[in-house]
């Protein structure tokens, strides 16, 4: 593979749950090597479903990739198992953090050593504790007793242990105070810089996501409706109104992106 090829390439995928509910309808996106790419969208748009399709956790929920293809590091994910993908370097930090509550902080990190050569993984504990000194202080405590922010740190810490090529992050700011959110995003940016890890970042907090991401996609009801470099998206009036909470009124907030199709057309011509 040349380094110019994207680390992750999603081509026109359709995903159906229970053989009945179609959630993704021809979604395409790609993540260049070393980049942070943001994926935004309102509740129920299918962001988490997209990530689960990539990491193949979809099958645990009776979801199925009906058409299209997802290529990670030059190879289709369809030929791999979920745990096999993690070993190949694709790590999914799931929505809601999903720490193992009955395990200690350190045992949670140990659980992630299966992704890697064990001696390699053991060396990375120090790295995690350096990024998150708070986890070091609480390493022998049960993960269930950590605060929401600390649990998010642990969830990202587990990813660091696995030393992946790409991390799929599902709403790391979920339920966190602004201060904690800022801290977490600071670390996400550092990990990207220092470890060279590519990231696909799903967020509701568009301002934060755009602060660390190079490129953004906006999706609605199962497909991408808008995409571009984050500087362009940030300055876009509609994105400002719907996702950055600037201008507009609260009671108009549920207005759909489909109402601004004219924008999309203009955008297509420009690019």
């Amino acid at each position: 593979m040349t380094s110019a090829s994207p680390i992750l390439d999603i081509r026109n995928i359709e995903v159906v749950y229970n053989n009945t509910i179609q959630v993704l309808r021809g979604l395409s996106l790609s993540v260049p090597r070393g980049a942070v790419v943001a994926l935004l969208g309102s509740n129920g748009a299918g962001k988490s479903t997209t990530l689960k399709a990539i990491s193949r956790l979809l099958e645990l929920e009776r979801g199925e990739l009906k058409s299209g293809d997802i290529v990670f590091d030059g190879q289709s994910v369809q030929s791999d198992t979920p745990h096999g993908l993690v070993r190949r370097g694709l790590f999914h930090v799931m929505e809601g953090r999903r720490v193992f509550e009955d395990l200690t902080v350190e045992e949670n990190l140990t659980a992630a050593t299966y992704a890697n050569d064990i001696t390699e993984a053991k060396k990375r504990f120090e790295l995690v504790y350096e990024y998150f000194p708070r986890l070091y202080e609480r390493r022998d405590g049960l993960a269930g007793y950590l605060s929401g922010g600390e649990q998010q740190m642990l969830a990202i810490g587990r990813a660091l242990i696995a030393n992946p090529e790409i991390i799929l992050l599902d709403e790391p700011s979920l339920g966190l105070s602004p201060l904690f959110t800022e801290e977490i995003f600071g670390i996400i940016a550092r990990i990207n810089n220092e470890q060279g890890t590519s990231m696909l970042l799903v967020e509701q907090n568009a301002a934060m996501a755009f602060a660390v991401a190079d490129y953004g996609y906006i999706m609605e009801t199962g497909k991408i409706v808008l995409d571009g470099p984050t500087e362009l998206l940030t300055n876009d009036a509609d994105v400002q109104e719907f996702y950055l909470g600037m201008g507009g009124h609260d009671d108009e907030e549920h207005k759909s992106f489909r109402d601004i199709k004219h924008y999309k057309r203009r955008k297509r011509w420009l690019s």
Binding site: L60, T81, H83, F100, D102, L103, E107, N116, R158
Partner: protein
């Protein structure tokens, strides 16, 4: 009140309970990690006991070789069962899997009858037979040594479960299967491992139970008492299985001694109903248990 008699019965009850605890441990292990209610637990114990007969009497191997061989062979049997019968059923609804394990129990009984016939067998005597006295109270040596072995097995298991890295994978899988997958843990392999370990524990339980009371193909009924134990303790609680095991052992033995043998089952099932009314998930259970 004859206190000596009372305490002797108590000791015997604890001894019986230790064996329940071992069998309960195997049951809970499978339920906790894979959410499979294994109705064939009693038959797995029985299979272990017969395999021991196969090595010790059939092949006339010394006991100290027969025991490890039995543990290995039964573990292998557990792995094969998981791979061929349980694994293809994963994702199906709980009732289907439940029924499959009931079927599995009958198959094991059938196999045992083909090889060894339907008559009861006695195991080779290998447990020391000098009587044990605790204070003045007499304890049957078989029950006493059986309990000691049970205690060692449980202790060993708990230590391994806490310290070995595989124990972390196992507990992670039990806690959150999807999250375990997302860590790179090979969840199907953990499932196999759990069945192998549970079957090995069952083999030890089977040898002990068989040494005390002999074995017959109907020994699987023992599984019924084990089911009571784990429901009382909480299907997903290891600690619950241990405590409920001793508890049920005591109740059963006291009921048998003071009311008569026919009241054993009545006493334990009354206890079961009582506890389910007060605590629907058992004494230590946490998760909602799927209604069967």
């Amino acid at each position: 009140m004859d206190w000596l008699f009372f305490s002797e019965i108590g000791l015997a009850g604890i001894g019986t309970g230790g064996l329940y605890a071992v069998a309960g441990l195997a049951f809970v292990l499978i339920y906790k990690a894979t959410r499979v209610v294994n109705m064939a637990m009693g038959e797995l114990l029985m299979a272990g006991a017969y395999i021991f007969i196969g090595f010790s009497a059939g092949l006339a191997l010394p006991v100290w070789i027969s025991i490890p061989l039995t543990i290995l062979a039964t573990g292998l049997l557990g792995g094969v069962i998981e791979r061929t019968i349980i694994r293809p059923m994963l994702g199906e609804n709980a009732i289907s899997i439940f029924m499959v394990t009931i079927g599995l129990g009958s198959v094991l009984v059938g196999l045992v009858e083909i090889f060894w016939g339907a008559d009861p067998h006695r195991l080779v005597d290998f447990i020391p037979s000098d009587p044990i006295f605790i204070g003045e109270a007499y304890l049957s040596p078989k029950v006493g040594y059986g309990f000691a072995v049970a205690a060692v097995i449980i202790g060993l298991f708990l230590v391994v479960f806490r310290t070995w890295r595989g124990g972390v994978a196992l507990r992670a899988t039990a806690g959150d299967q999807a999250a375990a997958y997302s860590m790179g843990i090979n969840v199907p392999k953990v499932f196999s491992l759990v069945w192998v370990i549970a079957a090995m524990i069952a083999a030890i339980g089977g040898i002990l139970v068989g040494s005390i009371g002999g074995v017959s193909p109907s020994m699987g009924v023992y599984g019924l008492s084990v089911l009571v134990v784990v429901i009382i303790g909480g299907l997903d609680s290891l600690l619950g299985a241990l405590i409920a095991g001793i508890f049920v052992g005591l109740i059963e033995t006291y009921a048998g001694a003071y009311l008569g043998g026919e009241y054993k089952m009545l006493a334990t099932f009354s206890l079961l109903v009582l506890i389910l009314v007060v605590r629907p998930y058992g004494l230590f259970g946490t998760h909602e248990i799927e209604r069967l």
